[in-house]
Symmetry: C2
Subunit: 206 residues, 2 copies
DNA sequence: GTCTATATTGTGATAGAC
DNA sequence: GTCTATCACAATATAGAC
């Protein structure tokens, strides 16, 4: 994105990216101004255009970054040689931990993919996501009789749903069920890791 | 919102609201301009301010409307005297049908509650949502031994997650699993009503 | 590379004629 | 009630000095 010599400009480009992540993910593309990002980065507005020609291009960089958070890296775990129950538990635990640490990313991504699906098209071209990666692993488990027959896509979405939704809808759930108590909800999500694992495991028993 | 005589102005206020729903739910508060809404309604920009003083107030009306779509009306079903399995199936089916017909509302709400939780606070004050309504019904079922012991809040969120998420994340899932085929995804959601019901039922067996 | 200054367009909102 | 005209300001983006 920047020319080759770069005295200490790598640092500046990085400051911009970090600031842009922070602000874009909180307020979305349309809810964010270049001035906000510049202020957050402690630099001038014009510099943003110097490094990333347009607001749209800067946003693309942030979106790409955030996107990889909601497409989980299940493959390593699934292709290991543990039992299916252990695999489920590891996936759910690691995924929910990651989401909890980036709690604004789910709603951010969900909003932007509905607002502009074309951006999704472009980004998925580049990142070589192969749905078979996920699906085949579950097909194997079914063929070996480890889990009962089920559309693997439905199962995958069940898992993702129960991990992602409570983070994306946090402000609502936290208020309805926990009187807006931040810590109570954090603990609820902590317990939920076990709940979701058992829930999934129970539901796929042959 | 409008004075009492109103020649045929009721119709105008309604045209505005319908247009505002359409545009706000698609593009969000910040992604929508008053001009867009006026054009959609086929009227002048100033009229919007005449009926709803500010953009914020017009948005509040739309948000309130949309909000009632994602807080489901479980109570009638839960307090009926059917078996728990029938109740689950009815809730899931009716809720997913409603969401499918309003497929942009879930992501819209999820975005706006994260962007401005205070709005949620105000609206929930007015709409008398009592979490106990939902929770108590499940507590009853547990006490009668119809379902195994579980935190009712976790169970409720499991149900909501699996119904709402596949609608909110539709553009992403549709592209990954269905080559962006709209009809294929519609059918997938149709089958999913049965899948989710069975999934829940299986997981709560005592 | 980084800044200031500026161009240009679009925004929410109001005033006032009819 | 509905319109036109207009205000005050904020937005993205560029030009040009250093």
């Amino acid at each position: 994105m920047v020319k080759t010599p770069e005295t200490h400009s790598q640092s500046t480009e990085n400051k911009i990216l970090e600031a842009a992540k922070k602000v874009f993910i909180l307020h979305g593309l349309e809810g964010t101004s270049m001035q906000q990002i510049a202020s957050e980065a402690g630099i001038n507005k014009s510099l943003l255009h110097y490094y990333f020609r347009t607001k749209e291009k800067l946003f693309d960089a942030v979106f790409t970054y955030a996107f990889h958070y909601i497409v989980p890296q299940m493959e390593g775990i699934l292709s290991s040689d543990s039992g299916i129950n252990d695999k489920i538990e590891r996936i759910v635990t690691e995924y929910m931990d990651m989401l909890s640490e980036n709690k604004f990313i789910p709603a951010f991504i969900l909003h932007e993919i509905n607002r502009n699906p074309d951006r999704l098209y472009n980004i998925m071209q580049k990142s070589g996501i192969k749905p078979e990666m996920f699906v085949n692993q579950f097909v194997n488990e079914i063929q070996q009789g480890n889990i009962r027959p089920i559309d693997p896509r439905q199962l995958i979405i069940n898992i993702l749903s129960m991990c992602i939704f409570p983070v994306a809808a946090r402000p609502l759930i936290q208020r309805i069920f926990f009187g807006n108590n931040e810590n109570a909800y954090r603990q609820f999500l902590e317990e939920r890791k076990k709940v979701v694992s058992e829930f999934i495991i129970q539901s796929i028993k042959p």
